[in-house]
């Protein structure tokens, strides 16, 4: 049996009706494939994985895969994930969010989850637009770009998701494009295995909304743009801010160790019982 057939049969739900909701050419499917391959490499049991999402195109991802899956309210995936992980730390909790989901409506939860350092892996699909609702500008829409609520072009500065995650205290932060799917596999695998709050920013394309409104071409054109504008973090370290303008810095931005919440809380229990 070919490898991809084994992965499909093992990880996609047999009883879920396809096709999926995403547009042809969407990068979300590439991330879904990456996620499955990464989880397969970790060897974790499907029973022990909880996949939590919010609302938007990204929110629909968990329904297709054979884990414990939880499709929550807009922006709140990390709060549900917090409850799941703290109540049953043996579970491996992964959240899937979009840029609007995690940075706008869920921005507060994101920085606090990073600060708290619960062992959760947060994957953020960043396509710089609200796709499902029809192409409104998001917190990561670059200045000057067009959206259906910014037809005179966006006048807001964009969040840099990974840099925000680093500043908020996440112990592992990485960024990769869906173009570099193999590198994305490796990054997600590392993030899942990392103890503590880890973030993977997945730069992807929405050719149907963002691409069309900004005349960026087809899905293939946008993937080529990702290829041509990615700079590995090691190389970026030697470049000037001017050279890095509008580039995607890829790779692991931070990998450090801090006390993990669940382990610290176990000590709280011992103190409360007078054992420590």
């Amino acid at each position: 049996m070919p490898e991809y057939t084994r992965l499909i049969h093992n990880y996609l739900r047999h009883d879920k009706k396809f096709p999926h909701v995403w547009c042809p050419g969407c990068g979300n499917g590439i991330l879904l494939g990456s996620l499955i391959r990464a989880i397969d490499k970790t060897g974790l049991s499907k029973d022990d994985i909880v996949l939590v999402s919010g609302i938007g195109c990204s929110g629909r991802l968990p329904v297709y895969v054979d884990f414990n899956t939880l499709h929550t309210t807009h922006g709140r995936a990390l709060t549900y994930a917090t409850g799941v992980k703290l109540a049953k730390p043996s579970l491996n909790v992964i959240t899937i969010m979009g840029d609007g989901d995690s940075m706008a409506i869920g921005g507060n939860h994101f920085i606090h989850a990073a600060r708290r350092n619960i062992d959760i892996t947060a994957i953020i699909l960043n396509n710089s637009i609200y796709g499902m609702t029809g192409g409104q500008y998001s917190p990561t829409t670059p200045y000057g770009m067009r959206a259906s609520t910014a037809v005179y072009n966006s006048i807001e500065q964009a969040f840099k998701i990974s840099e925000l995650a680093v500043t908020a205290g996440a112990v592992f932060v990485g960024r990769q494009t869906v173009y570099n799917a193999k590198l994305l596999d490796n990054l997600i695998e590392k993030a899942i295995l990392k103890k503590g709050f880890s973030v993977v920013e997945v730069v992807t394309h929405c050719h149907v909304q963002y691409g069309r409104q900004n005349k960026l071409g087809s899905a293939v054109d946008m993937l080529k743009w990702q290829r041509d504008n990615s700079i590995p973090v090691e190389k970026a370290a030697k470049m000037s801010p001017e050279e890095l303008k509008d580039k995607i810095i890829t790779g692991i931005l931070v990998d450090k160790d801090l006390p993990v919440y669940e382990e610290e809380y176990e000590k709280v229990r011992e103190r409360a019982k007078g054992l420590a």
Binding site: K46, T69, L70, T79, Y80, G83, A87, H109, Y265, R269
Partner: protein
């Protein structure tokens, strides 16, 4: 749980903490807010003692999300708040309704709207507790009127939540939350504690939202091998999103039917001097204490006054209220709001009895004297 068999002097909020622990609550997520903060403080001290978990979230939205997540792993969970926080929780309360995740939300009512009167009592959230989240949804709301009842109502809230897979709101006012009374905690073995029904079929056979005679499907915990999908979208029996009219209709009706069928078990009220009453005072929470005192004083003057006190605020105790309306000539409904429960009573009154409302929204309690003065309108 605190010591049993010896009297304690507890606040209502502290009794809620004890009740939650006795009921088996092992996860609490909260955010500081007056006048409910003592519940979070108490849980932060006691949860780790019983191998439970306390987490202080970044806001009440997060608290509500966290307790739903915890409950999905099979752990009984609770949060506590007051008006502004309760407003923030509403969207996720709706998520718990549609996904049928058991959890308990305590709302200690203070003066509103908005920041309102944080340290004063009110009963302005009666309608919000029923209709705060959007869409047609069933919900259960309990309202204790003493410290001891805070303990038992909290246990009942968990039991109902587990039995019907529905969020239960435990609401009372600042007076009850901060008042201290004597309470003797019962031994654990004397309490009836209900656990959610879990699937006993092999995982392959598990259909997570399949209807049955009681309309409450068994609920698996994340990690137990029953991998299934949970979504706030309307879903079919397998948990997958659907917009097929027949599936949507059956689902929404089942959510309501499971509560309707449970009404005799869910609804609880206290009848005080009601046997021969010709005038009834209908009241709940701290106001019911004044109502009882007013009834006693009225009877000293020969006026046959009784009190009906719904402990179950929602679903509205229509049967009990209709029966009272048919048997008295007047009903007085004192509330610390502009008239919320009284709207329901008026709705079912088919001209049976005269209905008189008594409303106070100045942040002060309704006194027995206030009620006695109102009684003059019918005597």
């Amino acid at each position: 749980m605190g010591n049993t068999n010896q009297p304690l002097l507890l606040q209502g909020n502290e009794a809620i903490v004890e009740g939650a622990i006795a009921a088996g609550c092992r996860f609490f997520a909260g955010y500081p807010i007056t006048p409910a903060t003592e519940i979070a403080e108490g849980m932060s001290v006691k949860m780790p003692m019983v191998d439970g978990t306390f987490v202080q979230m970044e806001d009440e939205i997060g608290s509500m999300g966290a307790i739903i997540g915890a409950s999905l792993t099979g752990v009984k969970s609770m949060t506590a708040t007051s008006g502004p926080g309760f407003s923030l929780m509403q969207e996720n309360i709706g998520f718990a309704c549609i996904t049928e995740v058991p959890c308990v939300v305590v709302n200690i009512m203070r003066g509103g709207p908005s920041t309102g009167l944080p340290t004063n009592p009110a009963q302005g959230d009666i309608m919000q507790s029923r209709w705060g989240t959007h869409g047609d949804h069933p919900i259960i709301v309990l309202c204790p009127h003493s410290v001891e009842e805070c303990f038992y109502a909290t246990i009942k809230a968990f039991n109902l939540s587990e039995r019907y897979r529905v969020p239960v709101i435990l609401t009372t006012d600042e007076v009850i939350a901060h008042m201290r009374e004597k309470i003797t905690l019962p031994p654990a073995e004397s309490l009836e504690i209900i656990e959610r029904v879990r699937p006993n079929v092999p995982p392959d056979w598990y259909i997570p939202y399949e209807d049955n005679s009681i309309g409450v499907p068994p609920m698996s915990a994340f990690g137990d091998g029953y991998r299934y999908h949970v979504t706030g979208l309307v879903h079919d029996v397998r948990g997958f999103p659907t917009s097929r009219p027949d599936e949507v209709d059956a689902f929404i009706h089942r959510l309501h039917r499971k509560i309707d069928k449970g009404l005799p078990y869910i609804q609880e009220g206290e009848y005080f001097l009601m046997d021969d009453a010709e005038v009834a005072i209908i009241s709940y929470g701290s106001v019911a204490r004044s109502a009882k005192q007013a009834a006693i004083l009225a009877r000293e003057k020969g006026q046959k006054v009784g009190v009906f006190r719904p402990i179950t605020i929602w679903p509205f105790m229509r049967g009990a209220v209709e029966e009272i309306l048919k048997n008295v000539r007047a009903v007085i409904i004192p509330e610390m709001n502009m008239g919320q429960y009284s709207r329901e009573v008026k709705r079912v009154d088919q001209g049976y009895a005269r209905i008189i409302t008594l409303n106070r929204v100045d942040g002060q309690v309704i006194t027995p004297d206030d009620i006695l003065r109102k009684l003059k309108e019918v005597y």
